[in-house]
């Protein structure tokens, strides 16, 4: 046996040390992100739960109570922290804006992918990329100066409210939902269309009966993704919804969402007070909803993968 060579080959080289160093450091960077996510969940949860554990507010009362007025104690001697107005406000604007955006998004996606791919690539693609890039405060500002006055002149009242919020969110989530729907359509194999057309189906029958069916899981993911964005959007909504912590009774009267109350409230309360903790509980609801949206997207993805 060649002893000198053996020795040289057994010695740890510089490359080997660098490899260990690099692998460790890049792993640490990755772990930093993961730990942050867990830290966010743990911190928000512990702050948000203190309303129930330190201030002994009943969870059911919190979720179903209709009066939000943390400075006031009610007849039972408990502070009025009913989050139902904000929770329902968030859900209503999210669902309405998704309902409004879905036909537009899917229609545009079909147009871009099936009807006129050339114009889709040349005009609509850049248009959608531009829309994605517009910051949410700009949407809020336009909502404030265009949408709210328009609603005011048509329906009367202040113009602030669910309807204004819905419009702003509709335009905000439209590009995201559209571009994800385009991806879903694109993943439908070409021969599906060719087979249907060859059987004598019209273009619309092909799209409606074959392509859309095959792309349904991807489209659903796009819509849920848009809803998650709408649910979590803060400033644009806060600027146009009117910020009245009341159960929404009409689409054009001032209302509020979880995010709008958070943005206006957290700076005006003292850390650790009940008023402050109650706001963190709203943030916890927001966080949980975001996790649920995530889960739904995963479930759709898994089901879509199975049916293929």
């Amino acid at each position: 046996m060649n002893n000198k060579l053996q020795k040289q080959l057994l010695k740890r080289s510089k490359a080997s040390k660098l490899e260990r160093f690099g692998k460790t450091i890049s792993f640490l960077a990755l772990m930093l992100i993961t730990v942050t996510v867990f830290a966010i969940i743990i911190f928000v949860a512990s702050k948000g739960l203190s309303t129930f554990f330190s201030n002994h507010v009943n969870v059911i009362d919190f979720l179903t109570g209709k009066d939000w007025n943390p400075n006031v104690t009610n007849s039972k001697g408990q502070p009025e922290v009913g989050a139902l107005p904000m929770i329902s406000g968030s859900f209503v604007v999210t669902i309405l804006s998704a309902l409004l955006a879905t036909p537009f998004a899917i229609g545009t996606a079909i147009f871009m992918n099936e009807i006129s791919p050339h114009r889709g690539a040349k005009i609509l693609q850049p248009v959608i990329e531009l829309l994605v890039g517009i910051p949410s405060v700009v949407y809020g500002f336009i909502g404030l100066t265009v949408v709210v006055p328009a609603i005011r002149s048509v329906f009367g009242g202040s113009g602030f409210g669910i309807l204004a919020g819905t419009f702003v969110l509709f335009v905000m989530i439209l590009p995201t939902v559209t571009s994800m729907s385009v991806d879903a359509l694109r993943s439908v194999p070409r021969y599906y269309r060719e087979a249907a057309l060859a059987l004598g189906a019209t273009q619309w029958q092909t799209i409606y009966k074959v392509v859309l069916r095959a792309a349904t899981p991807g489209m659903l993911t796009a819509i849920v993704f848009g809803m998650a964005r709408a649910f979590g959007e803060a400033l644009a909504v806060q600027m146009v919804i009117g910020n009245a912590a009341l159960l929404p009774t009409s689409l054009v009267s001032p209302a509020s969402t979880l995010t709008s109350v958070l943005t206006t409230g957290i700076g005006n309360t003292v850390m650790g007070s009940l008023q402050n903790n109650a706001l963190w509980s709203l943030a916890l609801v927001l966080l949980i909803m975001s996790l649920i949206f995530n889960l739904v997207i995963r479930l759709i993805g898994r089901k879509g993968a199975m049916s293929k």
Binding site: L32, I40, P135, F141, T145, Q203, Q205, L235
Partner: protein, 294 residues
Amino acid sequence: MNSKISNRIAIATLYVIASTIVVILAALLGYIIISGLPAISWHFLTSPARAFTSGGGIGIQLFNSFYLLILTMIISFPIALGAGIYLNEYAKQNWVTSLVRTSIEILSSLPSVVVGLFGFLIFVVQFGFGFSILSGAFALTFFNLPLLTRSIEEALAAVPDEQREGGLALGLSKWETVLHIIVPAALPTILTGVILSAGRIFGEAAALIFTAGQSAPALNFTDWNPFNISSPLNPMRPAETLAVHIWKINSEGIMPDAKAISSGSSAVLVISVLGFNLLARFVGHRLFKRLTAG
């Protein structure tokens, strides 16, 4: 109904829908630019804001936006690069990797206001950084990391494996190969991703109102010592950005020309973001050419 007629109706409807989208964007952009441009002047872009009287500018906010952007990138890029490298080059398919991927997905879908509140809790309150550029930069880092990590990972994955083998066959470690061959080869794509995420950071406000703060104290643009409180470079001063400024004056602004200032600021913001988009395309294209040309 006749299938040919329904076909025609359906396709006509699709045309209407697609044109509506184009009209909406044209109207949006047109409105922002037309209502904003008259407000934009050199004075507007460079002078400080006024709280109660008209004639204020957005100079400090604009500077803050850029400073915060640069600081955020300095903090988040190395982390995203490391994470992207590990995910693409080292990670095996096991439960740890899928847990990590899930948590990155969760972070990317968290509402930015929640990220901002977490930043407020940790950096502003616990670490005692107060409302400061540094707190804001950390909050924006969390906001930025998932997308940046993913775009770096994708950029690295697009570099052919032959390049990695070339490095390894010379007796180099995978780390050296990745750092000195794969990353440079992926640089055009990585930079495009960085610039696109810069546009997102530049327009973000919800994560900043409780971290970087909502006030813009006067700055002394002749003092570049980062330890002085009025120095523009001081990372511990509160710093309202342009996006936050738009929100702030529309929520509680009392200056008489709040609307004109918002219009002008919105136009500046949108033009900057468009600029980032164009720059991303341009840089990606140019660098790619330079790397492959003789």
